[in-house]
């Protein structure tokens, strides 16, 4: 049964992702993106990574997507059907995207996928995750990210202040 759910979820995610890039209406694309995120969260759930599933929905749907939609709503002429969706550099973008696709495909192809689960995650998974973040192994990246976020926060406040 897990297999069936996995297939359904994947189909929803992939289908919606396809619509996101092909749809001409930017707002609708953003809405389909929400389904993609929720579908990915579902996949996390199936991998027993509930914490990541929750965070995925909370951050991606609750915050990032909201801001994307907000930006779409606030920007002028973004939804105007007369505005062309391509600019003059579309070929450069296409090359970069193609290269990225090739790289990703190669990496995925060569990755050694384990055939069997590595082991059940422990029940106190979240506590362990929290401990790991402040353990010597990860404390430096963690703090660097914190400083980055803080800088972004201060910067956004400065930009928003018009006076």
């Amino acid at each position: 049964m897990a297999q069936a759910i996995f297939i359904i979820l994947s189909l929803i995610t992939l289908g919606c992702a396809l619509v996101v890039v092909t749809n001409r209406n930017l707002f609708h694309s953003a809405l389909y993106l929400a389904f993609v995120f929720v579908g990915v969260a579902g996949l996390y759930f199936m991998l027993q990574a509930e914490f990541f599933a929750g965070i995925q929905v909370l951050i991606y749907v609750g915050a990032i997507l909201t801001l994307i939609i907000f930006a779409i709503m606030l920007s002028r002429d973004l939804m105007n059907p007369n505005v062309r969706g391509f600019n003059r550099q579309w070929w450069a973008a296409a090359i970069v995207a193609g290269l990225l696709f090739v790289v990703l495909a190669v990496v995925l192809w060569r990755a050694p996928w384990p055939a069997a689960p590595v082991g059940e995650p422990s029940a106190d998974f979240i506590a362990e995750l929290g401990q790991a973040l402040v353990s010597p192994a990860y404390v430096l990246p963690f703090e660097v990210v914190s400083i980055l976020l803080l800088a972004a926060l201060v910067g956004s406040i400065l930009i928003a202040r018009e006076r």
Binding site: F27, G54, L58, V61, G62
Partner: protein
């Protein structure tokens, strides 16, 4: 197994009997599927029944506060009124504005309602009575709750109405702002309980006493922030009747409006239930069965929300954001620090509780003093302004 037939275990017992009966002639995976679907159906039913009760209660409380009787014509004491309302909603004409974005317009009520109903999965209705005892229960609740922002935005944009659009702007500003203090307050509770699971939080309160008593300051903060999250008065800016005429559902009618209505009250019920879980000991209580205690406490909290709605005016949007960022987030951070330090430094739980209580009272007085001072300054500046 002899006490399985007590009222305490009524619902679980019914479930067990049904499962055993089904297992008699069905394969195991089908039984699991059927039982899971059944739980979903029961949760949906609880949601809809709760909405019927709440809409009736809302009208009655509003009426009683205004020296009136409220609905009392249809059925004894007007008890059938919600059904009449529901039927009226269902048979009303479904109007889609000519210029509306049909896809968004039709999708929005679905997103909002689904997001609201999904929150029921982690509510601990009683001892061993939670649909999915996730070890990230609270996180799930917050995550699913944030789905409704997308729905509100879609509704506001899809209606192609300027009032709805303003409401969508407000939705983003308000709901994102208030997710922060709500999160901070939840973290305080999680720190004391040591778990994200709703059941564990309730059990922790059995041990340490209700968190409402331990941290009144955090509770007040959570209460205000949660009422902003639930779009209840005095933070009901998204649907401000007097300013933007019901905001995002200005263009909705019939069934779609009913879905929004449903979502709003499901949010109210779920939010109150979560507040009971976090601060009022969930289903803990003597004598009565646990699920009854849970319902009683939830309805008391809901009554307080309705009472407030019947007394207070609405806050302005800039004040909402100001209070959110300048008062609630700092106060929440201070509360977080207090809770963390007290919980870590004082090993004895009783002394820790007392110290926490005193610190929280200090927090309340401090915030209240600072806000009062700011307001007094503003009022002194306003005095004589017309003559200058």
């Amino acid at each position: 197994m002899e006490n399985i037939w007590t009222i305490e275990n009524l619902w679980n017992a019914i479930g067990t009997v049904l499962r055993n009966w089904l297992a008699g002639f069905l394969p195991a995976w089908l039984v699991t599927l059927i039982m899971d679907l059944l739980v979903i159906v029961v949760l949906l039913a609880i949601g809809i029944v709760a909405v019927l009760v709440l809409s009736f209660m809302e009208r009655k409380v509003a009426a009683r506060a205004g020296d009136r009787y409220g609905p009392n014509r249809w059925g004894p004491y007007g008890l059938l009124q919600p059904f009449a309302d529901a039927i009226k909603m269902l048979i009303k004409e479904d109007i889609i504005p000519h210029v509306a974005d049909r896809f968004s317009f039709n999708l929005a009520p679905v997103i909002v309602t689904v997001g609201a109903v999904m929150t029921y999965a982690v509510l601990p209705f009683g001892r061993d009575m939670v649909a999915a005892n996730l070890n990230i229960g609270i996180l799930y609740f917050a995550a699913v709750g944030s789905l409704s922002i997308i729905g509100l935005l879609t509704a506001g944009w899809g209606s192609r109405n300027k009032y709805a659009l303003i409401s969508a702007f407000r939705a983003v500003a308000q709901l994102i702002t208030y997710e922060v203090p709500v999160g901070l307050c939840i973290i305080c509770v999680v720190m004391l309980a040591g778990s994200l699971s709703t059941q564990d939080i309730v059990l922790a309160q059995q041990e340490r006493g209700w968190f409402f008593l331990l941290m009144p300051g955090i509770f007040i903060l959570y209460f205000l922030a949660a009422s902003a999250e639930m779009i209840r008065c005095p933070f009901d800016l998204l649907e401000a009747d007097s300013e933007i005429i019901a905001g995002h559902f200005i263009e909705y009618s019939g069934m779609k409006f009913a879905l929004f209505f449903l979502a709003e009250y499901i949010h109210l019920f779920a939010g109150s239930a979560m507040m009971v879980t976090l601060f009022f000991g969930g289903w803990l209580g003597p004598w009565l069965p646990s699920w009854l205690w849970f319902l009683i406490k939830t309805f008391v909290v809901i009554f307080v929300f309705m009472w407030i709605r019947n007394t207070f005016p609405r806050i302005r949007i800039d004040q909402v954001l100001k209070i959110g960022w300048k008062v609630m987030v700092p106060a929440g951070l201070v509360g977080l620090a207090i809770t963390g330090f007290v919980d870590k430094l004082i090993a004895d739980k009783l002394i820790a509780g007392v110290v926490l209580f005193i610190c929280n009272i200090g927090l309340i007085i401090g915030v209240s003093y600072l806000m009062g001072r700011a307001q007094r300054r503003k009022e002194m500046a306003a005095e004589g302004a017309a003559l200058r």
